[in-house]
Symmetry: C2
Subunit: 218 residues, 2 copies
């Protein structure tokens, strides 16, 4: 019984996600859904991404958190429009929450919409929102056994950013093992090793994003 | 509609958790439910705890993971009985999953049952399993803003272990801020700063657990 209820919720969500996607495509806006465990560095990555790309593209951000506007305040400091969704307990964003923000967003003045999901390595991967791509972060202190233990997010994502590589000397984590295990789950995954805080390795990620923006606007 | 469905699921769970609790109390077994984000160090903490306490108490472990037996294999190496629950996608353990293991557990030969929940800082806090105490880990690379952003788990837990303090020199994280923010949410929270890997600070945690074991067996 519980399973069938969950299936219903997912079906309703798919329908709304499809509506969102049609709007995003019509407006030519690239939408990426950024997911990770809590504290893996999503907000820092988004800040760094905006700092470089805001001179090339018009960007907006939707921040998902259970409560607080802590992350949205940080993004607002970069000067791009940002909308905070407080889920009030819910462990992920879904298509309906995103569509509720549309009256506050100007899609005609936007090339790229970045959605920062709730920090959770499990549930967000189950809920489409109409995005073009799911992007996930895994930070090296979390350990190299995570693809094996939380495979769905690795399966659903188009890019994996292995973050906090500045901490590699101090933790037991092999980025090679993360790469190998992730590619077994998802052979098409683009993988970048970065330190969002220090800026290492960001060029590969930014070039991937520029390519997706170019493809969307063609 | 979604909210009422969720409420029903939680009500059913509370009933089963109550049944579990009556059994645990009848058998005089202390049950702790260990929760954290993925990779915060739950399994290492449990290994270290068993290494010291297995000479004093009879311990068993239930390992919760979405898939794999990776953690259960590590616990089995300590020599205590361990049962793996694979949730098959579900983001938390619940009362029913725990009761399904009872035919494989000998409660008459047990003082302490440690349940390692699925790595997730959100959902597990909503599901009681009949445990005496919830215990949470927060590792310092996750950052000191987590009590503010994920308050429920801090609210529901009786003890907070601030883990990976060996990484403090390399990350932006104030354990004092974690303490202050956590105590605002839950003034009764027992807080221990530890490095489960290196063994720092474990005595305070072990003494807390010994006291709870003594109280349960009285």
């Amino acid at each position: 019984m519980k399973v069938s209820l969950v299936t219903n919720i997912l079906q309703v969500n798919e329908r709304i996600a499809g509506q969102n996607k049609r709007l995003f495509d019509e407006k030519g806006v690239l939408v990426i859904n950024i997911m990770s465990a809590p504290g893996a560095g999503k907000t820092t990555l988004i800040e760094q991404t905006i700092r470089v790309l805001k001179n090339e593209y018009r960007i907006a951000v939707i921040e998902g958190d259970i409560q607080s506007t802590y992350d949205a305040d940080k993004i607002a400091a970069t000067g791009v429009p940002v909308i905070q969704i407080n889920t009030g307990g819910a462990c992920h964003l879904d298509g309906n929450m995103i569509s509720q923000t549309f009256d506050k967003l100007d899609f005609d003045a936007m090339d790229l919409l970045i959605i920062e999901n709730v920090g959770n390595l499990v549930c967000p991967a189950e809920f489409n929102m109409g995005e073009d791509f799911k992007v996930m972060l895994l930070s090296v202190p979390e350990g190299d056994d995570k693809p094996l233990k939380y495979p769905l997010m690795f399966h659903e994502s188009s890019a994996l950013l292995i973050n906090k590589i500045d901490l590699l000397p101090y933790v037991d984590c092999s980025t090679e093992k993360i790469r190998n295990e992730s590619l077994k789950i998802n052979p098409d995954l683009a993988i970048f090793e970065i330190s969002a805080k220090r800026g290492d390795g960001l060029n590969g990620w930014l070039d991937w994003l520029r390519l997706k923006l170019k493809e969307k606007q063609r």
